[in-house]
């Protein structure tokens, strides 16, 4: 009986490893394939010599990316937009969440519900209006316009995330500070802000990453190729007659994904914690 139990256990364990193995293959396959494509000497998707293990390895596509295309420029643009978006979002969200979580004011409840409702409205539906609005104030084809759109869109959801986190902080600290005569401004920056730094970094990272993945708004706002972000540029590599510059696209997408992937993997637990805490509360 004990023996059969053990063999049963071993079979189960073997099955478990099999499932894990299948999962790993499923996950890694596209990544490995893209990596090997980027090293392949051919240029298009339908080159006959494409295979998982390249017969010949070349770094030509990576060199070409910087030498022959605007890839370097797009990378810089994306970093610029992402950094600015992240900073503006964090600043604005800290302000609004602080007000909603720590302060009493007229219209607080209505404001909170409105934030919740606004967050349900997909950004895509705002595209026409945003376009007209940006053209009115002359911000079309500028990074500033894009940054404002990204940051504004990020406020409602992240305010809720941050507010939930702030609500967990005890009031006694502030009360002590008020007795000591601290102004509201001091309380916000010197007492609350240091305590919510984990959530600040979560929101900062998420809003930094968003511009790397957004194609729609970047495409709408930025028209000059020199102003494009990575997403628009990469899509351009493979649009039109599909597959013509596939290897270049593969190299570019790996370079574009690399910093984000490293960031996510190294901050796994922080990001997951932030996600679950914020969403379960909502």
């Amino acid at each position: 009986m004990r023996v059969s139990n053990r063999t049963l256990g071993n079979i189960k364990l073997g099955l478990s490893y099999l499932v894990i193995l299948l999962g790993v293959v499923f996950v890694l396959f596209p990544v490995v394939w893209t990596f090997s494509s980027s090293l392949n000497p051919g240029t298009s998707l339908f080159s006959s010599d494409m295979s998982i293990i390249p017969k010949e390895v070349t770094l030509k596509h990576y060199r070409d990316l910087f030498a022959e295309t605007n890839f370097g420029l797009w990378y810089r643009n994306t970093l610029k937009v992402a950094t600015a978006t992240s900073m503006v979002t964090v600043l604005l969200v800290t302000f609004t969440a602080h007000a909603f979580s720590r302060l009493k004011f007229y219209g607080r409840k209505v404001g909170l519900v409105a934030m919740l409702a606004l967050q349900l409205f997909p950004g895509i539906m705002n595209m026409v209006a945003n376009y007209v609005l940006l053209s009115l104030v002359g911000l079309l084809d500028t990074h500033l316009g894009l940054i404002i759109i990204y940051a504004s869109g990020a406020i409602p959801y992240n305010t809720w995330l941050m507010k939930g986190y702030m609500d967990g902080i005890s009031r006694s600290l502030e009360e002590a500070a008020i007795i000591d005569g601290a102004s509201s401004w001091t309380i916000m920056w010197k007492i609350i802000f240091p305590l919510v730094l984990p959530m600040v970094s979560v929101i900062g990272i998420f809003s930094f990453v968003a511009p790397f993945g957004d194609f729609l708004f970047a495409r709408l706002v930025l028209t000059t190729p020199q102003n494009w972000t990575l997403a628009v540029g990469l899509r351009d590599f493979i649009s039109g007659r599909y597959g013509q510059r596939y290897t270049q696209f593969a190299a570019g997408s790996l370079l574009a994904a690399l910093p984000i992937t490293i960031l996510y993997l190294s901050l796994q637990s922080l990001l997951i914690g932030g996600l679950t805490r914020g969403s379960v509360k909502g």
Binding site: K12, S16, V19, I20, G23, V27, W33, T34, L45, M50, L92, T96, A99, F105, R108, G111, L118, L120, F121, P122, I124, M125, N126, M127, V128, N130, V132, L133, I149, S152, G153, I155, P156, T159, S183, S184, M188, F212, G213, D214, F215, L216, A231, L234, R235, I238, Y242, A250, S253, A256, A257, I260, T261, L263, Y264, L265, Q268, T276, S279, G282
Partner: protein, 437 residues
């Protein structure tokens, strides 16, 4: 005694709360001055005299533009007029709000003067104003952004749904007209449109359910297996498995688009090479495109649910499992009757959030195959894998039927709001059961 109090309260600047409120109603700031608050009163008077009154004609003109939408083609641009009109409406509401606050302020100060004639010193007033204004001060930048880039576009969108803005009526060449509910009626009652709408709506719901369920199912399996302490290298496996989450989704989708290419894609090559299967028309047949969408979404999405469920599993109380072991439960029974219900309970609200997210998951649908393949007879360029949101995008930027797109986005919004409210009340009652305590 009584006369004494009367004497005390009726000294110099005390005129009573009603009078000061009335004064402030007549002219902003007048009541404050009557209450002896000179600085505030003068400031408000200046605001009304220099800012509000001179701008009233402009406000009225702009608001009128919102009603007429312009008169002279090529000179009046209806879209701009709508935007200006909305801003003017915001400004009007804002002015009325300030005016009301001004009256309330005069009333309250008049009241405190009645009770305690001695005014606070100027310095104390400043400090008081600064502290009570603080919430509005820090809310202002964020709210301004939301107002201009989220609320204004929403209102704009709603307005468009009641106009005739399409390819043949586009400003500045034409002046837009108000058409009432015509768009909605036409949209829902013309048979070709309503059939298209029905098809797209059904697929949207099926897609949202399928994509959410598959994603959570695989996530659950992986999380449970990797939670078994007998498995070696669990951390490494987990890190590998969350890789899709860490790659920007946009890039992954484009990569998959290459992998699944019918003629040259590696997936079909492998299937043909190892199993001798005919090339699968991933992007040419409606069924296979939909299948591909679910598959790619599974790849992108299961790491997220795996991470969530791992977190939940690690928080589950151990004693339930021990009790089950004592009662002689097999490990499958433990999984089926303890793990699954507990995880489902904890994950239910998130499941519904994912459903709502996938309902509007534009990126996969649009980037994978542009919502195609085309389907004969469908209106507004709706393809076989289009969901509502990607159809709105196509209506806007490909079919240039801005009015229909706007009408449809209102319908989508109502669907989501209804669903959210329903879900909110459900989870509330769910939580009140207090199963985990």
């Amino acid at each position: 005694m009584d006369t004494q109090r009367k004497l005390m309260t009726s000294n110099d600047s005390n005129i009573g709360r009603h009078t000061s409120a009335l004064l402030s109603l007549i002219y902003m700031g007048a009541g404050q001055i009557a209450n002896g608050q000179w600085v505030k009163g003068l400031f408000l008077i200046l605001v009304e005299t220099l800012v509000i009154i001179p701008n009233i004609p402009l406000l009225l003109r702009t608001l009128k533009g919102l009603v007429t939408l312009g008169e002279v083609p090529m000179q009046d641009h209806s879209l701009f007029m709508i935007i200006y009109g909305i801003i003017a409406a915001f400004a009007t509401v804002f002015i009325i709000l300030i005016y009301l606050l001004n009256i309330r302020d005069a009333y309250e100060n008049g009241y405190s003067v009645e009770r305690k004639p001695k005014q606070k010193g100027l310095k104390a007033t400043f400090r008081h104003t600064r502290e009570s204004g603080f919430p509005y001060l820090i809310l202002a930048p964020g709210l301004a952004c939301i107002l201009f880039f989220t609320v204004l576009p929403m209102v704009f969108n709603i307005i468009l749904a009641f106009t005739n803005y399409d390819l043949y009526h586009s400003p500045p060449k034409h002046i837009l007209q108000w058409v009432g509910f015509k768009n909605f009626v036409e949209f829902l009652s013309t048979s070709s449109w309503s059939i298209t709408f029905k098809n797209v709506l059904i697929w949207t719901v099926v897609w949202a359910v399928l994509s959410t369920l598959t994603m959570y199912f695989l996530g659950l399996i992986m999380a449970v297996i990797l939670n078994n302490p007998r498995i070696k290298f669990r951390k490494t496996f987990r890190t590998i498995l969350i890789l899709p989450y860490a790659i920007p989704g946009f890039i992954s989708i484009l990569i998959w688009k290459g992998l699944l290419n019918t003629n040259f894609g590696i997936v079909n090559k492998i299937l043909a090479g190892t199993f001798g299967i005919q090339p699968i028309p991933w992007f040419e047949s409606v069924f296979w495109t939909r299948f591909a969408c679910v598959l790619v979404n599974l790849w992108l999405g299961f790491p997220y649910s795996m991470m969530l469920i791992t977190g939940i599993l690690q928080g589950l109380p151990n004693d339930i499992y021990e009790a089950a072991t004592v009662d002689g439960a097999s490990s499958f029974q433990k999984f089926r009757f303890i793990t699954v219900p507990l995880v489902l309970f904890a994950v239910a609200p998130l499941l519904i959030m994912s459903f709502a997210h996938n309902f509007n998951n534009f990126n996969i649908i649009y980037l994978l195959n542009d919502g195609n393949p085309p389907v004969f007879g469908q209106q507004g360029k709706a393809g076989g894998s289009d969901i509502l949101i990607s159809w709105v995008y196509k209506l806007t930027f490909e079919a240039l039927k801005f009015n229909f797109a706007a009408a449809m986005s209102i319908i989508i919004f109502l669907l989501i709001v209804g669903f959210s409210i329903y879900n909110y009340t459900r989870t509330r009652s769910f939580r009140e059961e207090d199963m985990l305590r």
